[in-house]
Amino acid sequence: MGTAWNWGVFLQETPSGGATYLGWLLTGLGWTVGLSLAAWAVALLLGTALGVLRTVPGRLRPGLAAAYVEAFRNVPLLVQLFAWYFVLPELLPRAWGDAIKRSDPLLQQFLAAWLCLSLFTAARVCEQVRAGLGALPPGQLQAALALGLTRFQAYRRVLLPMALRLVVPPLTSEFLNVFKNSAVASTIGLVELSRQSQQLVDYTAQAYEAFIAVTLLYLLVNVAVMLLMRRVEARARVPGFIGAR
């Protein structure tokens, strides 16, 4: 390894030509951000639906949602990823499996990572939404029903708007986790940020510079997300409301 710092390495061209090492890093950043946002979108929708399911009366629907959460919570993320990437194509009907295996490797990697991250995170969002709904006074649902709203309308217009506002802080945490968890996709070859850091160490000899740069980029993403969520929290604030009774 070179003993001298060489920050200029980022502006060097890669052996394959056509890009600088900095370009590689930015590509990696792009994939990380893209994957994370795509997964978070699904996780938020699915997780909210599951969180609602856990609070409806009866045993079947809450039970199914609870089983979902347990399934995705007790298996390591890496194992889940490998299941989606290696196992799923084998278990599908032959034609589908072959179609997947023949498609663009990058697409395969992205899809597996996206599915994995979405479903994993949805389980966590479910628990947060459930906690938020549980923190609401029971009278809110009763008042909504007493006005003649159906349960669906009550959840949509009264319960979820408040519950989601209550759980913005823990949801922010989960949102940040998605970006961190996206790094697991490097194990199946997706060229996201942490994989690019490994590539840089392999190709250049400047391990320190590479790692510091990548670490800074992850920190940057963190800061950006926190600023965004702070804005969201400000807009979601309900005048005169301090917290659930």
């Binding site: 809110q140 008042a143 007493a146 006005l147 003649g148 309308q153 309900v238 005048p239 409301f241």
Partner: protein, 242 residues
Amino acid sequence: MISFQGVSKWYGRVQVLDDCTTRVAKGEVVVVCGPSGSGKSTLIKCANGLEPFQRGEVRVDGIAVGAPGTDLPRLRARVGMVFQHFELFPHLTVRQNLALAQREVLRRSREEAEVKGLALLERVGLAGHADQHPGQLSGGQQQRVAIARALAMDPICMLFDEPTSALDPEMINEVLEVMIELAGQGMTMLCVTHEMGFAKAVADRVIFMDAGRIVEQAPPAEFFAHPKGERTKDFLSKILGH
């Protein structure tokens, strides 16, 4: 208008309502009182199906509340309810609170709902507060908005579940005034309350409940002057002291 026939309810092994039978005729104002745990709130929540019951029958305007085929949301839209803790929706403005059910359930247009809502706000004396959030209002103001919200649905009768119990004393009157005015206009009302002044002023009948049972019922003059049961006398002596 509202009739209870032999209504009994259990929470698991505990019986909370025991063979309750009574009716509220159109235009009548009936007050329900009793010690805490006597089942008063549970009884009136059976009237709009918020509490299910295992035995007996409850009918509102002829419709059986407990029957499997009954369209509960439809029924509830016609029965107004006011809660002890107001239960306004904190994330909506007063205007939006009043309009929500009108638009979602009665399918009124935005303009219709707003006009109606504002008229009712005027009636309860809160016209200027339409664009505030519930958190910015006092308890008495919130409860008056809650009454307006229920009235916005043009209900055939109103249920009140201890509407002033969560209020500071100086705000109780502003809410009672609205309720008295409502009674004066012929609204059918079933109220759980400790406010005996209200009962004396407008109630047609007072019901005393204890341990899930309807123990005694009589017009207020008779009820307060000549209570029949020991428990009734006991209860009255405790609460009429204030």
